[in-house]
């Protein structure tokens, strides 16, 4: 390991960079996921590292090639890799294999209340708690994304031509219905209030469905593919990447139809590549293609502060610990900033 940790403050560094620890690992960061007050990071060499305040982070050799996707199940980390393995990793670094698909990649993983789900090719595999054999959900094309709703009774699977919505009835049987929209759908998420389903598409646009009446619409006008989007402040806004501003669509009231998004501009005029809601606030952390990261209040753009200055590599991961004490930023050049959010002296 050649973790070059530099803790010497320099004049051009932000107060977070001065206060925190920077790691220049040189391995692309593919994912980061919050697990309690720790943050697990996945890398392009198949390793996972766990960052916890006051503890050092050692690489855990999880996958052979790339950590393609990450999620969590309670206090455990779930990963999928290009070695075809679906893994469960505990915070102390113990790895157990949930599934193995050989030369087929595990593209997406998620979990809810002990139900573990991954997708490989056009099939979703669901392991119910205490079941050794997964249940298989087959689709007509390779799966672009999977997501549970908050309660875990609905599982959305995006694909070519729309989304397949699997619903568990009260006898625990899964039934599917189709939400169709032409084109290839990638990442999919439910709004935290369960009212909306949103996908990003191969085209530079998003698509949403209001689930109670199946009304759907596109959100377009982006200059690039939307790789990152998330609901903020419960379900009030949908913050999105893919433009030179963080585009935040209003999802309160009757939703975004006929309403304008709030666009948060950033200095440098670079593409937004990552957005992460700041927990319990109407605010987002925005990562740009040059590596810089800002914290902004959505309804008060003047309240924007810089968290990290540029590194030249696009931001590919941002995560905040559950207690909101620390945050982690990772980019495609393998640079990590791990810092406390609040000034210790003021606390």
């Amino acid at each position: 390991m050649k973790a070059d940790t530099s803790q010497f403050p320099e004049l051009d560094k932000t107060k977070f960079e001065q206060r925190g620890t920077e790691f220049k690992l040189g391995i692309p960061i593919t994912n980061a996921v919050t697990v309690g007050n720790s943050i697990a990071v996945g890398f392009g060499d198949g390793t996972v590292r766990i960052f916890t305040s006051g503890e050092s982070s050692e690489p855990i050799k999880a996958h052979k090639g790339i950590v393609l996707c990450m999620s969590k199940d309670g206090d455990n980390i779930l990963t999928g890799g290009d070695d075809g393995r679906f893994l469960n990793i505990s915070l102390d670094g113990k790895i157990s294999e949930i599934g193995n698909f050989g030369t087929r990649w595990v593209d997406h993983v998620t979990a809810n209340n002990g139900s573990l789900v991954c997708s490989s090719g056009n099939i979703v595999y669901l392991w119910s708690p205490n079941h050794k054999q997964p249940k298989l959900f087959e689709h007509n094309s390779t799966i672009g994304g999977i997501a549970f709703d908050t309660k875990g009774r609905r599982l959305a699977v995006s694909r070519y031509g729309g989304v397949t919505l699997w619903k568990k009835d009260y006898s625990n049987k899964w039934n599917s219905s189709e939400l169709n929209w032409k084109g290839s759908h990638n990442k999919v998420i439910f709004s935290p209030d369960g009212k909306y389903l949103v996908t990003s598409m191969q085209e530079n646009q998003l698509h949403f469905w209001r689930l109670k009446d199946k009304i759907d619409s596109a959100m377009s006008g982006y200059g690039a593919k939307i790789k990152s989007f998330a609901f903020v402040d419960d379900s009030k806004y949908l913050a999105t990447s893919g433009a030179k501003e963080a585009v935040c669509w209003p999802f309160d009231g009757d939703g975004p139809v006929g309403r304008e998004p709030i666009c948060l501009p950033y200095v440098g005029n670079k593409l937004v590549t990552f957005v992460e809601p700041f927990p319990n606030e109407n605010a987002i952390l925005t990562g740009l293609s040059d590596g810089s990261v800002f914290l902004s209040e959505i309804e008060k753009a003047s309240n924007t502060i810089i968290i990290r200055s540029f590194t030249e590599f696009e931001v590919s991961a941002i995560a905040v610990t559950k207690d909101c004490s620390h945050l982690l930023i990772g980019d495609m050049g393998g640079n990590i900033l791990w810092t406390s959010i609040w000034d210790e002296e003021k606390k």
Binding site: G44, G65, W105
Partner: protein
């Protein structure tokens, strides 16, 4: 760190079942070159591939949601190439093997359409492995075989030990008629030096300037309407840019499905630079490529490869673009 931003070349291997794609692939992989290759194979592969980085893919052709039927891309490639670009170690090249019945157009179009793919990888060349014994029959029976020849930058004419000399000439003539640009290499058991099929940069505009099309003088008898053929036009009279753009964009919009590939070097009135373009169906890469070389005659050259070209009034259209 700059290394991360370099585009990784992608070579596409096409060819009918049994032509020798897997033989070629294993040849590339086992040669002592010290390079790291990723190989993307389809699940109907003929035999085992000897490499530690093999990715299984389903050939998924996606229509883009913009209403243009020409604009299809390979969704599985977008997913896999984007994933491979997150690897910590640098790949020297990526090789995509297609199934025998695959249309190469969506593969090529993927590199035009998807920005992430275009930023981090580049289409190096389409290499088509053809069976010298069976190619003629395959070309008659299957559109896909014609398309694979039409899109090829290199045709590896394999199993030449199994045909006599006159038979070989007939096959070669057939290839040239479809695609005058392709470099035809005769092989037995795909014995070819790797620098003839890898790192060719065949899709760069610079290469359009280097390759002289090899046209046959034979006329167009014995052709069915939907045979793939090629037509070329040359003009020493400079072209009017506006007229050309009008004609050419309308042509691609209406006939883009039948026009498989185009390449050209253009001499526009009042422009000191040469304009170079190359396209796949409706998608086009075009740019001025510097001044005309000193002492060389300025002229415009335009080549079409496609179906039903005779019905498009190409000659008339091109003539009308000449400056008055």
């Amino acid at each position: 760190m700059e290394e991360t931003n370099k585009q990784v070349p992608v070579t596409v291997l096409t060819g009918f079942l049994g032509a020798g794609k897997t033989t070629l692939l294993n040849r590339i992989l086992t040669e002592q070159h010290g390079k790291k290759y990723a190989v993307i194979v389809n699940e109907f592969g003929e035999q085992g591939i000897d490499n530690d980085l093999v990715v299984d893919a389903d050939e998924e052709v996606f229509e883009m949601n913009n209403g243009c039927i020409c604009c299809t891309v390979r969704g599985d490639l977008i997913r896999i190439l984007s994933g491979l670009m997150k690897r910590a170690d640098k790949l020297d090249a990526i090789i995509v093997e297609t199934t025998g019945l695959a249309d190469p157009a969506p593969v090529a179009q993927t590199f035009f359409v998807d920005q992430d793919v275009a930023d981090r990888t580049k289409l190096d060349a389409i290499v088509t492995v053809a069976d010298a014994v069976h190619l003629s029959t395959q070309l008659t029976d299957h559109h896909e075989a014609e398309e694979q020849i039409a899109f090829a930058d290199v045709v590896l004419l394999n199993k030449i030990d199994l045909v006599d000399e006159s038979g070989l000439e007939v096959v070669k003539e057939r290839i040239k008629k479809i695609n005058p640009f392709a470099k035809v290499i005769n092989t037995t058991k795909c014995g070819v030096s790797l620098n003839e099929i890898l790192n060719l940069d065949a899709f760069s505009l610079k290469r359009v300037l280097d390759v002289e099309p090899d046209f046959l003088t034979s006329d167009h008898d014995h052709e069915h309407d939907d045979d793939v053929t090629s037509l070329s036009f040359v003009s020493d009279t400079p072209l009017d840019m506006e007229k050309f753009q009008d004609w050419f964009s309308k042509l691609l919009q209406t006939k883009g499905q039948d026009i498989l590939r185009t390449k050209g070097i253009l001499d526009f009135t009042g422009e000191s630079d040469r304009y170079v373009f190359q396209g796949v169906h409706m998608l086009m890469d075009a740019s001025p490529m510097g001044k005309w070389p000193q002492g060389k005659e300025r002229s415009s050259r335009l080549v079409f490869i496609g179906r039903n070209l005779e019905s498009m009034n190409l000659k008339e259209g091109f003539e009308n673009c000449k400056s008055a």
